[in-house]
């Protein structure tokens, strides 16, 4: 089945590139290792949880930052709340191995600590960007895996 082998090779290469480009780190391997016959969908399940969480948190972050827009004043932003959200996002991204998202979160937390509004806004933009990237990539990955499964019959 050339097709299958092809697919499998594609998957391997693709995964390798994700690692190489820093989208994923070793934690993702851990996830894959946790998957087994009794939990065949484990990785997808966990990553889906992450997606849900991340989107919720990103919304919260936007709300918190956007609410200050009119004032644009530092005083109006609840940096503590911001930090709490970012911390959460940082945690969940690290738990699935979304390395770049995780890195941006670290910077984001620094901005919060410094109460740097501009920095926060920028970080938010970055994190959104990185999140959408990794989301796309992981979805592609899962699609490929699914294709393989289907091809394998």
């Amino acid at each position: 089945m050339d097709g299958l082998v092809q697919l499998q090779k594609q998957l391997v290469d693709y995964t390798a590139s994700l690692f190489r480009e820093g989208f994923l780190d070793d934690q993702f391997n851990q996830l894959q290792q946790l998957q087994d016959e009794s939990n065949p969908e484990f990785v997808v399940e966990v990553v889906t949880l992450f997606f849900e969480d991340a989107e919720r948190l990103l919304n919260e972050l936007s709300k918190t930052l956007d609410s200050s827009f009119p004032n644009r004043g530092q005083a109006s932003i609840d940096f503590k709340k911001l930090d709490a959200h970012v911390h959460q996002l940082k945690g969940s991204s690290s738990s699935i191995g979304a390395q770049r998202v995780h890195s941006v979160c670290i910077s984001f937390r620094n901005s919060c600590e410094e109460q740097n509004v501009e920095g926060c806004l920028k970080n938010l933009q970055q994190v959104r960007h990185e999140y959408s990237l990794v989301k796309t990539k992981l979805e592609t990955l899962f699609r490929m895996e699914k294709q393989i499964l289907e091809a394998a019959g």
Partner: protein, 631 residues
């Protein structure tokens, strides 16, 4: 999210090979992490339960005691701080808790250690790390067993009998420990607590008696080193007590820490820092205030249990002097200072006897639960007064000397006036007898803890969980909340939960009609969280009050006195007895100050407080019992 999952529901460990079958409770608000750890745990063949909320987890732990071996908790959680959960678990269930966090800074890890975490994992947690957590369970069990063996304290069977209440366990163990040691009188003063040796819990093995004096030395050593830095070896060096081994100190220290932790954690009602403000406490404490339970009782808002507990505590005090002696002060301060635990020090559980007594006395007193505010304010006032430690003063000057009968009483005492009656009768405060309330004077200004899970005072003198009302010594903070929970058994038996550490004298009990002031700064020194288990046989001292179990209670209290400062006043006993006999008796109560200066005549009703005859009782003397028993 409701706890769920793998591992089945059987609380008993299955017959699988350890560490498989380890019953783990994982708490984390992050669903992703939670799922991953759950899966890892399943891989490790643990029986895992997950929770996204700390409060749910805590409830679960409480409901299903003995169903978990270890708790894994995230540090940052929205509903409850992970450290707080940690403390609760440590105090109430005494389970090993492992913290998890993405924060790997040294300070964060240190904080975890300080709060008693067994381990601190950096997220993302790897499976290998999870495979290793069983070591903490084993270590804990072994250490506890070893300690027991050392002290010849309760056997495991006894322990088990006490149920899953780890608090009890520890207390019992502690009590047992104290009980069984042969009395060391050579180096101890007469006022030192005499430990009864006929305590059923006594084991045959000889053991170090943590007498009051010894404990004082211990506490001052710890204080000197700083609780965080206090290591057994250095403590031992500082104490310089011949014959004392590092091991003795180590186990004692462990209990001490546990006790403090407990007090602070359990008592904590609000997010106040568990760490007391040593400075404040110190200042407030002033002299070793002796907590005048009676005063409290008199105030009427002290639940009987609490008073009893307090009483019990005081019972432990060897000092007959009301006045806190220097020792006491030292002890108190020492314990307070190093520890940053305000509440802990105050957590005093009052045994039943007092409660009962109070109930009798206070027939006409509307039972009411002392509100934290009340208490705190009362205490606060009390505390703010200067408390001076006067060596060998019979009566410790209670801080606030105003509009407080008790205060007057104290004053009187100080002047060696045997006249207590007026005070007693003057007590117009109602005594609230709350059968199940334990009053825990708490010292920290910002925390008024209701020690809910204090060992309950039940007829068997065993500790259960009762609400302990914390009297916030320092503050009148509104968040002082005293929670008095009903606690079973209104038996007058002297059952108290003795928390071995001094209660900062500043307990505010505003609810007590002004008479609380009288609460001298008795610092209730509590032996390290000793629960008084079933009535320990009291020495054969006569019990004028006719305490049966009360006696044992006293004994127990005394035993626990290892941690009690000298010259602590234990009004409870008297109060109780008095109450039982009749209110009028109280009027006759005379405080017999055992201090060098003051010696008051003792009323027959009172336990005969003759120096030497009954060290325990003598101790009571100093307390202003009278104040407690106002009609």
């Amino acid at each position: 999210m409701a706890p769920s999952r793998s591992g089945g529901d059987a609380c008993k460990g299955g017959a699988v090979e350890f560490p498989a079958g380890l019953r783990v409770l994982v708490v984390d608000d992050d669903a992703t992490t939670l799922r991953i750890i759950e899966q890892m745990s399943i891989r490790c063949r643990y029986r895992v339960t997950t929770c996204t909320e700390a409060t749910v987890a805590l409830n679960l732990l409480r409901e299903r005691k003995g169903c978990f071996d270890v708790v894994l908790s995230d540090v940052h959680m929205p509903d409850m701080d992970g450290y707080k959960l940690l403390e609760h678990v440590g105090l109430e269930m005494d389970l090993p808790v492992i913290m998890m966090s993405g924060d790997s800074t040294t300070s964060a890890v240190m904080k975890g250690i300080r709060h008693g975490a067994c381990d601190y994992l950096i997220k993302p947690v790897r499976e290998e790390e999870l495979r290793n957590i069983w070591q903490h369970v084993v270590r804990k069990i072994w250490n506890e067993n070893k300690e027991h063996d050392n002290s010849g304290s309760m056997e495991d069977s006894d322990w088990n009998k006490r149920g899953n209440d780890d608090t009890e366990y520890t207390s019992v163990a502690d009590a047992a420990e104290l009980v069984k040691a042969p009395k060391k009188r050579s180096s101890l003063k007469e006022e030192d607590i005499e430990l009864e040796s006929d305590d059923p819990a006594t084991s045959k093995k000889p053991r170090v008696v943590w007498s009051v004096e010894l404990h004082q030395q211990f506490v001052s050593a710890v204080n000197q080193l700083g609780l965080d830095k206090a290591v057994p070896k250095r403590i031992l060096e500082l104490m310089n007590v011949p014959g004392l081994t590092r091991e003795n100190v180590a186990s004692h220290l462990q209990k001490f820490r546990l006790y403090l932790k407990r007090l602070s954690g359990v008592a904590q009602q609000h997010n106040g820092m568990l760490n007391a403000v040593p400075g404040i406490i110190e200042s407030k404490l002033g002299a070793t205030g002796r907590f005048d339970i009676q005063a409290l009782a008199a105030a009427g808002h002290v639940p009987p249990e609490t008073l009893a507990a307090l009483h019990a505590e005081l019972l432990g005090r060897p000092a007959a002097n009301i006045m806190s002696t220097v020792d006491q002060a030292t002890l108190l301060q020492a314990s307070i200072q190093g520890q940053k635990i305000s509440h802990a020090e105050h957590a005093v559980a009052y045994g039943q006897p007092l409660v009962k007594c109070l109930s009798n006395i206070g027939k006409n007193f509307p039972p009411s639960i002392i509100t934290a505010n009340d208490v705190s304010s009362a205490y606060g006032a009390w505390m703010s007064s200067n408390i001076t430690v006067r060596p060998n003063n019979s009566v410790e000057r209670v801080g606030t000397q105003n509009n407080n009968m008790l205060m007057d009483m104290l004053e009187h005492r100080q002047r060696q006036q045997p006249q207590q009656q007026p005070l007693i009768h003057d007590q117009s405060c109602s005594i609230n007898v709350q059968p199940s309330c334990l009053v825990v004077p708490s010292q920290s200004s910002d925390t008024l803890h209701a020690v809910n899970s204090c060992a309950s005072i039940n007829q068997d003198c065993s500790f259960g969980r009762n609400a302990i009302i914390d009297y916030s010594l320092l503050s009148q903070k509104s968040n002082n909340s005293i929670t008095a929970s009903q606690f079973p058994g209104g038996d007058t038996k002297a059952q108290g939960v003795l928390y071995g550490y001094t209660i900062p004298s500043t307990c505010s009990m505003s609810s007590i009609n002004g008479s609380i002031q009288q609460l001298q700064n008795s610092t209730l020194t509590f032996g390290s969280a000793r629960a008084l288990p079933s009535p320990l046989p009291m020495s054969d001292r006569q019990d004028p009050y006719g305490f049966k179990s009360g006696d044992s209670f006293d004994q127990v209290c005394l035993r626990n006195l290892g941690f009690v400062g000298k010259d602590t006043c234990i009004p409870n006993r008297f109060a109780q007895k008095e109450i039982e006999s009749s209110v009028s008796d109280f009027s006759q109560m005379k405080v017999n100050v055992d201090s060098s200066g003051n010696t008051l005549q003792e009323e027959p009703n009172f336990i005969n407080m003759q120096k030497g005859s009954r060290p325990i009782i003598e101790r009571y003397q100093s307390c202003d019992h009278s104040s407690v028993f106002t009609e």
